[in-house]
């Protein structure tokens, strides 16, 4: 698993298009919070949800394989047991990062992603890590562990 601040910073800078697998259309679901946050911070969000047509103004796809454009990050909001096929598809579509959300931990998927040259993050929230590293989370009193004398950009 990859979770030093410097690696997470690189991942969140490099990945600009994020396929959110299991994105819910309900505003109060964590996946919706995270995706909306990503959109507001300049990321392109592509929902993967076979049971919806449009979420957050974006067309939904039934699976990663159907997405007609390049995907940088695959962000997974599914049960841990269901992640391995998603990881296989992430490798197939040449994503750069497999990101399993808080509470989602599939070690086999993690291993496959890393063996295939992808960055792999588990049990973390993409929104929380972005806010931790690029500001915002600090305002919620969270211990970001950022110690620096550089002005943030």
């Amino acid at each position: 698993m990859t979770d030093s601040i410097s690696t997470l910073r690189r991942i969140l800078r490099e990945c600009r298009t994020v396929a959110v697998v299991g994105l819910s259309p309900e505003w109060h679901r964590p996946s919706h919070f995270a995706a909306k946050y990503l959109q507001e911070h300049g990321y392109r969000v592509i929902p993967v949800n076979p049971r919806a047509d449009k979420i957050l103004g974006e067309r939904c796809y039934a699976s990663l394989l159907e997405i007609p454009e390049r995907v940088d990050m695959v962000d997974v909001f599914r049960r841990s047991a269901d992640v391995l096929p998603i990881a296989q598809q992430a490798v197939q579509i040449k994503a750069r990062c497999l990101w399993q959300q808080i509470g989602v931990v599939n070690l086999e998927a993690d291993k496959l992603a890393r063996a295939s040259g992808l960055d792999s993050v588990m049990d973390r929230c993409v929104k929380i890590e972005h806010a931790r590293i690029f500001g915002g989370l600090h305002w919620a009193g969270v211990n970001t562990q950022v110690i620096s004398a550089k002005r943030p950009h």
């Binding site: 030093s4 601040i5 410097s6 505003w27 109060h28 964590p30 919706h32 919070f33 909306k36 946050y37 507001e40 808080i102 509470g103 929230c125 929380i128 806010a131 500001g135 915002g136 989370l137 600090h138 305002w139 919620a140 009193g141 969270v142 211990n143 970001t144 562990q145 950022v146 110690i147 620096s148 004398a149 550089k150 002005r151 943030p152 950009h153």
Partner: protein, 440 residues
């Protein structure tokens, strides 16, 4: 690359504050504003829905206050912090976020008087019962646990009893019942002890004391460990849609800082005991020097304890930093070492001898000592740069009769001292000349 682990001396200065994004200011700016503008209606909606992090109104969050919150969370090795108008407010916010009518608390018996009142009187009025138990007996905590118990509350170092809590043993009792241990860590400060390391789930501080250190500013902070499993079925308020914040599920949405977010959005927001930005800034001026101050407090207090023990006008000395104190071993297990010995913080208690030798004589001798001091200040605070003294039997506990005072650990001849940062020779001189006036 492995993350570098910063020491408390560095965290006390840097954690929670990088140069200001807008101006590049190196020192912490004071954001003295009640409110913050929204970029658009959409931005406002997402802030209110907690979908983006940001500032709305200083009763909820403020960038200057946030620096204090993150710094204390970092010093405690916790996940997140929440500041409040005083230490009592921090404790109230922690308890009122967790508890509701019909819940039960198990608390250490020899707590700070204000905490006893909150539990025994104020929360009791809301239908929350507390059982007080012997702070020295993890078995007593276990025996008092009930199916409706939802929190265990204790102090790392009791004030004024100076009782040392076995944090690990009491945390084990709480966790065996699926409830969190809340520890008031005011007296050791996060420099000497981090209760989360030993199993505490929530730590509360009166930042007014050692954290600020200058005796000028009131404030409090609560810190969440990020390790408590709130989805164990006992805390529906953490897992179910919040009626207090339009349906947000705090644990699911914010994970290991869900408790802090809930405390902020449901309790601080509604009851309003927010810390002012100016106060947060003043407290942070003190926090930067916490490690050096605590070392000196410990050193001076140990020297005072040794001095008092051999003084002919002193009958007893209670300071857990003394090597033969009954709980010294436990202190050694939980506290940072200062000069090679476990740091005992700056609080101690002692008895003044009287000619009569009875309770009345002891009380008179204690009062004479207080009145005879030249620069040691007679007041009710602790953790100041100045040496502070008080005679509990004639002041803070005077409304209690002798038997009640004894039960609260207050002896008639007892003087409590918060040893300050003056030169040790001068402190010992003032003690000696004041003791000389107790027997005329």
């Amino acid at each position: 690359m492995a993350e570098h682990r910063f020491q408390p001396e560095t965290l006390a200065i840097h954690a929670g504050q990088i140069p200001d994004a807008a101006t590049g200011a190196r020192a912490l700016p004071i954001y003295q504003t009640t409110s913050f503008v929204f970029d658009s209606a959409e931005h406002a909606a997402s802030l209110f829905n907690l979908q983006t992090f940001g500032n709305v109104y200083s009763r909820l969050s403020n960038p200057t206050v946030a620096a204090l919150e993150e710094r204390v969370a970092a010093l405690e090795g916790g996940r997140a912090g929440l500041a409040s108008a005083s230490g009592m407010a921090a404790e109230a916010i922690a308890l009122m976020t967790l508890l509701q009518q019909g819940d039960h608390v198990v608390a250490a018996g020899a707590l700070y008087g204000g905490s006893v009142s909150m539990l025994a009187v104020n929360l009791a009025k809301l239908g929350i019962q507390t059982s007080f138990v012997d702070a020295g007996s993890p078995e007593a905590f276990a025996a008092a646990m009930r199916p409706d118990t939802r929190a265990v509350f204790a102090e790392t170092l009791g004030n004024p009893s100076l009782h040392v809590l076995d944090i690990g043993a009491v945390a084990e009792v709480a966790h065996a019942h699926g409830v969190p241990l809340i520890v008031d860590n005011t007296v050791p400060s996060p420099f000497l002890c981090n209760p989360i390391r030993f199993g505490a789930d929530i730590v509360v501080h009166s930042a007014t004391k050692y954290l600020a250190g200058h005796g000028t500013t009131l404030g409090g902070v609560l810190v969440e460990s990020g390790k408590f499993p709130w989805d164990n079925g006992k805390f529906p308020g953490m897992t179910d849609p919040s009626p207090g914040y339009h349906g947000v599920k705090f644990y699911e949405t914010f994970g290991d800082f869900g408790f802090t977010m809930r405390a902020r959005m449901e309790t601080l927001r509604v009851y309003g005991a927010a810390l002012s930005p100016m106060s947060a800034w003043q407290i942070l001026q003190g926090v930067e020097t916490l490690p050096v101050r605590m070392e000196r407090h410990c050193r001076n207090a140990l020297a005072v304890a040794h001095y008092l023990r051999q003084h002919p006008r002193v009958s007893w000395v209670n300071f857990p930093g003394l090597p033969d104190h009954a709980q010294h071993e436990l202190l050694a297990k939980q506290m940072r070492r200062v000069d090679g010995a476990p740091g005992g913080s700056g609080l101690l208690a002692f008895g003044v001898k009287s000619a009569a030798g009875d309770a009345e004589g002891g009380k008179r001798a204690g009062v004479k000592f207080i009145e005879g001091a030249q620069f040691m200040s007679h007041l009710a605070n602790i953790g100041d740069t100045r040496t502070l003294i008080i005679h509990p039997a004639s002041t803070t506990h005077r409304q209690l009769d002798d038997a009640q005072q004894l039960a609260a650990g207050v002896l008639p001849d007892m003087v409590r001292m918060s040893v300050g940062l003056e030169h040790i020779d001068d402190i010992l001189w003032d003690i000696d000349q004041a003791l000389a006036q107790t027997n005329d």
